[in-house]
Symmetry: C2
Subunit: 355 residues, 2 copies
């Protein structure tokens, strides 16, 4: 970011950068000692929309995806309109990522070439608004070696902060070694990979298709399963410094830490499994970071803070699929200290994404 925090806060106080703010919110912004950085904020491009629409007939379950929703104008706007909404909602910086399912259902060559184009466009949008946007590189796991190189370019040359992968690719998860070049690159770049939900892999689909619950439950199962496969597949023994970001407060994993360890030890002793180097909870605590997207609620936020510690929880609104202002207000209303809020809204996002 080109402005220092001090300069930014000064500009807030002057009413310049956040001219869209109402008087009440402006007063609040003057008072708070932290920026609000929101870490799972979606966008799209006309080319992605066109390709998704072309495939729609042959893609089984886009129904719950944002592409069918009324979000298109907000998804396609990574400029002034989005900033106006951020100002109105009290969000200072958005970390942008291509909306689910990314380019992962496209033909491999299309996916990798579109990923390059998307990353360039995203970098341009950030360049135009360097105090308001940061972003994650689109990854095309269909081409592991090429996409690892593109991730390196996106981080090192374009200044993007990590990569975004929407759970499975053709029903496969990143514990499959063919995808490990991507993880190796992420570790080498010290760039986190955000594993975002998408419609469940084909074999999970039937039991999880419950109208009204495909997102809240189905997405959590799909993405939590991905995280468990990474742990169980020994990914973090191979890449001990790899950092994985999960949305939705960790897709229920913070609720399960004690049981993950207990039953892992039990199954290991009982069946003589090949041992992981560490306990499951240690990987969750050391290799994962979680955002509050869609989960800005007191009970799970406090549980996640207690389970993972104060430095592993980052604010996210999940714009435009969630109401951004509600997300901000809900997080601010949680009965935790201002110090914790500052970490969640600013300190942790800055450290994790090097903003």
């Amino acid at each position: 970011m080109k402005l220092t925090k001090r300069e930014f806060l000064q500009s807030v106080a002057a009413g310049a950068a956040l001219s869209g703010l109402g008087a009440e919110l402006r007063a609040a912004a003057r008072k708070r000692d932290y920026l609000r950085i929101s870490c799972e904020e979606a966008f799209s491009t006309p080319e992605v929309v066109a390709e998704l629409s072309r495939l729609a007939g042959s893609v089984p379950s886009m129904k719950s995806g944002p592409i069918a929703g009324p979000f298109m104008p907000n998804l396609l706007d990574i400029g002034a309109g989005r900033i106006t909404n951020m100002d109105a909602d009290g969000v200072d910086i958005q970390v942008l990522l291509l909306t689910s399912p990314g380019v992962q259902i496209f033909a491999p060559d299309t996916a990798i070439s579109m990923a390059r184009d998307i990353n360039d466009r995203l970098a341009d949008a950030i360049k135009a608004h360097p105090t308001r946007f940061a972003g994650l590189a689109t990854v095309a796991p269909q081409k592991p070696e090429e996409t690892a190189k593109e991730l390196a370019r996106a981080v090192s040359s374009l200044g993007l902060k990590g990569g975004i992968i929407n759970s499975h690719t053709n029903g496969e998860y990143l514990d499959d070694k063919k995808y490990w070049p991507i993880l190796e690159a992420a570790q080498a770049l010290d760039a986190p990979i955000y594993i975002h939900p998408r419609d469940p892999s084909p074999s999970l689909e039937v039991p999880l298709t419950v109208p009204g619950f495909e997102v809240s439950w189905g997405y959590a199962v799909e993405t939590g399963t991905h995280a468990i496969r990474l742990i169980g597949g020994g990914v973090f023994d191979q890449f001990p410094k790899l950092r994985i970001v999960l949305g939705h407060l960790g897709e229920t994993l913070p609720f399960l830490l004690g049981r993950l360890d207990n039953r892992y030890r039990w199954q290991k002793d009982l069946f003589g499994l090949k041992s992981l180097k560490r306990l499951p909870s240690e990987y969750v605590r050391d290799n994962f970071i979680v955002t509050t997207s869609g989960m800005n609620y007191s009970i799970p936020v406090k549980a996640a803070l207690e389970a993972l510690g104060p430095d592993k929880v980052l604010f996210a609104a999940d714009y435009p699929m969630e109401v951004q202002k509600d997300a901000v207000d809900e997080m601010e209303a949680i009965d935790i200290s201002v110090d914790l809020k500052k970490r969640i809204f600013e300190t942790n996002p800055r450290r994790v994404f090097k903003i």
Copy 2:
């Protein structure tokens, strides 16, 4: 129970009923003002073991089930040996249930006739130790009408406290209307149904088969999915007084209440779904009860108490698959009031299971 609580506590103080207790634990039992009732405690019968063994060649994934473990002697003992262990571990009453997967992988006629036999034997074991055991009736969903009648017999004539169903039956869930006679009977009897985990339904199996995590994650996904299907399938609109018990602190649902409501409303409005009568969280709070089996850990216990209220959380150890004494000690070590512990250990189990 034939003894009043007062009589029972007096017998404890006299060292009569709990003669196996060490001096330290006996002193503690004298001091505490509640019994410890443990609500998800497994048993088996030689006939069930024989039938499971006969099928083992054709059953895909018994590996993580207790049948392969070193638990057989404890599973088969529903008499003096079990009580000795309960005394040593500080558990006053066990609510017994046939271990997973119940009779649900047996041929329908075998399943229903074995269920009747198991329920008779369980009733006999309880009769022999009425101050130490209560039990749930084995259900054979393969025969919905017959098993509904057997549930009525088990509750009304045998004094069992409800029914136990181990998640899916042949890949189907209880939202399938062919199983609703069972739910109708349970509601009419005011008898709760305990939905216990088992190996995931066939289509969930591939992504969830992660060595060391089939139980902690796979079971939670399987059983949580079952609960979500009941809600989404309108079961509680049809049977508003039906009570469902989930183990493992509700298979992550208490962590997700806010998001379940938020995304349900969103999907309903977006896609014009047929409406449920109430919000998802209202069904979870009103129609579900959770036990602490395998989850006697501070963070999720406190989150579940806050999410569901003080009257919906019941102690369970998951004997003999978990270390019963650890479960007791872990629950006692949680920093909550004695009043809450009394509810979790005694008041709530008594109310839910009419003990």
